[in-house]
């Protein structure tokens, strides 16, 4: 069974938006996105449960994205593919999902996993777009996954409780952070990561046309950065015995009770 995990690197420390490009400043050192760690862990568990298979990591980003991939390789993934191309800079969801879909087609995985939410602004809803391009079933908010007889049974967490959904392979699943506790890489794993196959590919290698990537391939744009609106009037009162009523009235006025 081949399991592909789409991994995204986020800048370490305090993120900031580059005032020039108005996009997230990816200049800093990177780390493995905590949610992707859940996805990598789930991939490793799926592989362990079938007793064979391969876990391959995919990431779209600058060369520094290697760091995040190395951490995931240290956890036990087998191989990494980094899609690194200047022409991909400034890709929005439409462009990114197209590129990732091309890369995933090339891999032909049985299961494609995503972490549920990126810590930064991009990619928070990427999986459904990728699944549509691949014409594969998609299930999100997975809190548990089991695999049997060529299909996945997924427990999906929604606002109303848990659904149980079955999807035949190949399928795309986005995992929530409730699904597992990612393993710590062992020292042997960390040391072995360096010698695992790490491939870097360009958009041309994937057959992604120039006008489908980067700003050309995007359909959204960023205009400006602003300060957030003030939270609104902040009230502060001392309790003279009536504070509870004051709170209640305040909530009622806002239709929260």
């Amino acid at each position: 069974m081949k399991i592909a995990v789409c991994v995204k690197q986020i800048p370490e420390g305090n993120s900031r938006i580059d005032p020039g490009t108005k996009r997230l400043d990816r200049g800093g050192e990177g780390a493995l996105n905590a949610f992707d760690a859940n996805a990598v862990e789930e991939a490793l568990r799926l592989k362990d449960s079938t007793g064979e298979g391969e876990v391959v990591l995919l990431s779209l980003g600058p060369a520094k994205a290697q760091d995040a991939l190395r951490k995931a390789l240290a956890m036990g993934a087998d191989r990494a593919v980094l899609i690194s191309d200047d022409a991909a800079a400034g890709s929005d969801l439409v462009a990114t999902s197209y590129t990732l879909a091309k890369a995933l087609e090339r891999e032909g995985a049985d299961v494609v996993l995503f972490g549920q939410q990126a810590g930064d602004s991009d990619g928070a809803v990427l999986w459904a777009a990728v699944a549509d391009r691949l014409r594969l079933p998609v299930v999100s908010q997975a809190a548990a996954i089991t695999h049997a007889d060529g299909k996945l049974t997924v427990k999906r967490q929604t606002e109303f409780g848990y659904d149980v959904i079955e999807a035949p392979l190949p399928a795309v699943v986005a995992v929530s952070d409730a699904i597992n506790e990612p393993r710590y890489p062992s020292l042997k794993g960390i040391m072995g990561a360096k010698s695992k196959p790490q491939e870097t590919v360009t958009l041309a290698d994937l057959g992604v046309e120039a006008d489908r990537a980067g700003e050309q391939g995007s359909r959204t744009e960023v205009y400006a950065l602003n300060d957030p609106p003030a939270r609104g009037d902040s009230m502060k009162i001392d309790d003279d015995g009536n504070a509870a009523q004051a709170i209640f009235d305040f909530l009622a006025e806002k239709r929260l009770v």
Partner: protein
């Protein structure tokens, strides 16, 4: 009043020494193991890489991983903090013929410098003491320099292993064999959690301890191998911030005096530094010897107070704080050096050894040089076909260190710090005499007292600490946040401490700790270990810091 030394921590060196116990297929073998990716450890790794380039037989003897560097922080630089003004001498030597100074990540040469004596309202310019002249030196962020050195070390062939703590020293037959790394995934009570990952035995032919100030295994090794010198080590605590500023600072500034009190009864030795970092940033910090006496002294709050001084306020006007951190500095200098810095299979380098020139506020270039010398000694021993674990095989390190400028410099200024234990005025006079005579005065070396043995007093010093306004002055918790610390809470407590102490000791710790780890309670002290930025102050004053789970602690980038 009680003293911290009255409540020794329940720490036993023997608990942190063990023979290798992993079965052979789980044990990890490396050639040279360096503990700590700071300037000393990285310099050692870089020099080894250089030497191994043309020595294939030695490289083969070292196996698949000839050089491994452990780092307990998230990455190299995460736990590095200093002023810093760096003397480039050691970097020139280390990278001779390979890298130029302008390729190194400095913030520029020191162009001007001023020293001020402060009162709470004024700043009196005084001539810079000769030991503090910084011509030819460069301003740097040690964290950033560390990241760059780590890249060089990896290019030179070293394998960097971040998020890995060295918990025990592996010793058998009286020889150092490597380290055992710390476990990961334990809960608050030590119980293994779902993703528990035990540590491993990392066995090496040579183990280099480059852990920096209050190094955990360094302390263990000094005891285990009987290497401690006549005098105890003493420390200062430095707390610093990095600010984005509207106007560039054109000079390196040091201050003495306010907010420290000059009377000898206070024993407040230290001062502040303000260094430019390029066009739009500067860094400022407060450094105070941990032999201070007042229970209410808080170096973090002194830094906040310093910022309210008109001279400093002006520099920060319109700016914003972008980083904060704290770390101790070994201040004993020459007199506190261990009697020997090698043991069978073991070498000790950098701040862990105490190689810091206090009057000049310099330690980085000594760390780098010591790392380089350690690499050469290890290499020489391997090239000779020796087993480095043989007693005496690594003695070459101590020999070359004693012949180096490191030794000479430290020896010259050896009595400065103990002099200042006598107060600023008298100490200043003594220091002046020492400088003038290049260390020949005084004839008999002054003694050092253990920080934890100092008698305490209590004043109402805390009254004048500024209330944090969130713009110029900050509280400790938001400062811990600014250090990037996101340590997992559900972990065992890594600070070894007696909990039932007197109110005075509890308050001492509460004030002392820049990260608000300790809180005085009715029965003693409460500890919030996840706040800890691993500065090491507690080890100087009655407790013992050990490394928490690898990857914990601050994530410095600009300090």
């Amino acid at each position: 009043m009680t003293k911290p030394a009255d409540f020794p921590p329940p720490f036993r060196t023997a608990d942190y020494v063990a023979a290798p116990s992993d079965p052979p297929e789980e044990r990890i073998d490396v050639g040279v193991l360096i503990v700590g990716a700071g300037p000393a450890g990285l310099a050692c790794g870089i020099r080894l890489g250089q030497l191994l380039e043309d020595a294939s037989e030695v490289r083969e003897r070292l196996g698949e991983v000839p050089v491994a560097i452990l780092e307990k922080g998230k990455q190299a630089g995460s736990h590095l903090l200093s002023g810093a003004v760096v003397n480039p001498r050691s970097l020139r030597r280390l990278f001779k013929g390979r890298k130029r100074l302008d390729e190194m990540p400095f913030y520029g040469p020191v162009e001007h410098e001023s020293v001020y004596f402060l009162t709470n309202k004024s700043a009196l310019r005084i001539p810079a003491p000769p030991t503090m002249k910084n011509e030819g030196n460069y301003v740097a962020s040690l964290s950033r320099l560390g990241r760059w050195l780590a890249e060089q070390a990896e290019e030179a062939g070293a394998m960097l292993l971040p998020e890995t703590a060295a918990e025990k020293l592996l010793v058998s037959d009286g020889r150092a064999r490597g380290v055992r790394t710390g476990d990961k995934g334990r809960g608050r009570d030590g119980q293994p959690l779902g993703n528990f990952e035990p540590g491993s035995d990392l066995v090496a032919k040579v183990t280099v301890l480059a852990e920096g100030t209050q190094g955990h295994l360094t302390g263990v090794a000094l005891e285990r191998f009987g290497l401690t010198g006549e005098n105890p080590q003493v420390w200062a605590l430095g707390v610093k911030e990095v600010w984005k500023v509207k106007r560039p600072l054109d000079r390196v500034i040091h201050t003495l005096g306010w907010p420290l009190r000059p009377g000898s009864k206070f024993r407040e030795f230290g001062g502040s530094f303000i260094y430019p970092m390029g066009e739009d940033m500067l860094t400022l910090g407060m450094v105070v010897g941990l032999d201070y006496r007042d229970v209410e002294l808080s170096v973090h709050d002194l830094l906040q107070e310093l910022k309210t001084h008109p001279l400093v306020r002006k520099l920060l006007d319109g700016g914003e704080r972008v980083a904060w951190g704290a770390k101790t500095i070994p201040e004993g200098g020459f007199l506190a050096l261990p009697k020997q810095l090698h043991a069978p299979g073991l070498l000790i380098v950098g701040d862990g050894a105490g190689l810091v020139n206090v009057p000049a506020l310099k330690g980085i270039h000594y760390a780098i040089e010591s790392g380089r010398l350690a690499a050469e000694a290890a290499f020489a021993s391997l090239q000779r076909g020796q087993t480095p674990a043989t007693p005496g095989a690594l003695a070459g390190y101590d020999e070359t260190l004693r012949e180096s400028f490191v030794w000479k410099d430290l020896q010259e200024v050896r009595n400065m710090r103990p002099a200042f234990g006598r107060g600023l005025i008298f100490g200043g006079a003594l220091a002046g005499a020492m400088t003038a005579t290049k260390g020949r005065f005084p004839r008999r070396d002054l003694r050092l007292e253990r920080d934890a043995d100092i008698d305490l007093i209590r004043t109402d010093r805390a009254k004048s600490y500024p209330a944090p306004d969130g713009k110029l002055t900050f509280d400790k918790l938001s400062s811990v946040f600014a250090s990037g610390n996101k340590t997992r809470d559900d972990q065992p407590n890594h600070i070894v401490l007696q909990r039932e102490v007197t109110q005075d000791i509890a308050l001492l710790w509460e004030r002392m700790c820049p990260a608000q780890v300790y809180e005085a309670t009715e029965t003693g002290v409460d500890v919030t270990p996840s706040n800890c930025v691993q500065c090491g102050a507690i080890t100087a004053k009655g407790g013992r810091l050990t490394p928490p789970e690898g990857g914990s602690g601050p994530e410095y980038t600009l300090t």
